[in-house]
Symmetry: D2
Subunit: 140 residues, 4 copies
């Protein structure tokens, strides 16, 4: 079960969600991890001028997906089974960076931790754990 | 700490998120609960033709917020602290209904359970627990 | 995939965890649900005189397991994959009741919601969602 | 708001939960983190010979508490508001180590991530996020 290159995942994501490349940038990928940037747009603000919760949840879900595709490839249909997110600080109106680390890619489920930061600030704005189904067992 | 009417929350939501009324409908509200409909749009589809996870997460977050505003009013700034969601079934390409029940509105936190259904199907597509800060203690 | 009777699950639980019957009572089971009582013991108290968090987490995990065994039988080895719990009120020093409702028993995972109450009090002390692996697909 | 020494927390824990020192060892503490060891005992096994889920949940809850006490001191009563745990691998019948990192100690809530390992194995057996109330705001 080979993984794929960053370029393949970028192309795959663009086909799956046309236009996504305008606001999501895969900066790094591989070695059971990913770094994904959600670019700032006024549409992602909520009252009070912070980045909205749904923006962070969408980022966490996508960043985990990207890290997983790097392991299992883009031929597989994998779906989120669980996402748990803690909102820690109000995110400033700027880009948000999601650092994902896969903790397990098993026969049924893959689980990772996603930590999100406002661009340039070392204190995390949110942390999430996300699980996806793994459609075909590695090695099967 | 008076609650507010459905009409007030609808107007408040429309001011906070212009255009939201095109895809979110508050069907019922009050008595520590809410019923919110996410109207179908092709933008909410993911590959495979099901409603995307971010659509359900946004709905859960908003439906909990609506139920909470019915208790604490719209003068308060309240933010999500935690959201945990389990995706149970692939949601059909149609409206999604979120039924929220507040389990606690305390001095610090309010917590509710949101159960989501594809319109017309009694089996839930997702369940979430959502917590918001409560800015000013009841009675203070 | 036949379910099992309450008596079978009680016997199974007693073999798996000898002595458990002294503090856990399966009051109801079946129809994708369970009602399990955690009997009061001073060992379950934490400073301040309330029932400890680990007691509630253990109860949630076990109550979900009981409800699931009622569906898939006791021949299967099933393990918890995820548990998310919100603590809502300080539980009084008395029995705690866990009401479980299975939301899905799928080919890979089973997920349920467990709501916990201090005996005699209608306001919940905690709510949890719990997922278990389903070892063999229904119908396979 | 001064923190406390490891020795103080060990003494505090032993007063709060007499006998706890027989199975829980605070190995490190401070700098917004903790390392806590749950010593192996046959009582913590579940059928199949692995460490039980409740053992891991109790460890996660306690390890987060220890890290938090190191920040806010032992004069405060703090309670768990939320715990979310993913079980990743079957833990071997040996000691379990919990590494906790506080992500936020705010005016209302403190949140940390706890990663658990079977002693000597670098792959995590479980990961949890845990939130506690913060009774008195820092600086107030």
């Amino acid at each position: 079960m080979p993984g794929v290159s960053k370029e393949e995942v970028i192309a795959f994501l663009a086909r799956a969600f046309p236009g996504v490349e305008e606001y999501l940038v895969i900066e790094e990928m591989g070695d059971r991890s990913s770094r994904v940037r959600s670019k700032f747009t006024k549409r992602n603000l909520r009252p009070g001028g912070t980045i909205s919760g749904p923006t962070l949840m969408t980022l966490a879900d996508t960043a985990m997906w990207v890290a997983l595709l790097g392991e299992i490839g883009t031929n597989e249909v994998t779906v989120t089974t669980h996402l748990s997110i803690d909102f820690l600080r109000r995110p400033a109106p700027c880009d948000v960076i999601a650092e994902t680390k896969l903790l397990k890619v098993g026969r049924r489920l893959a689980t990772g931790v996603v930590t999100m930061y406002s661009d340039g600030d070392p204190e995390p704005v949110a942390t999430a754990t996300v699980s996806y189904t793994v459609p075909h067992p590695p090695g099967s």
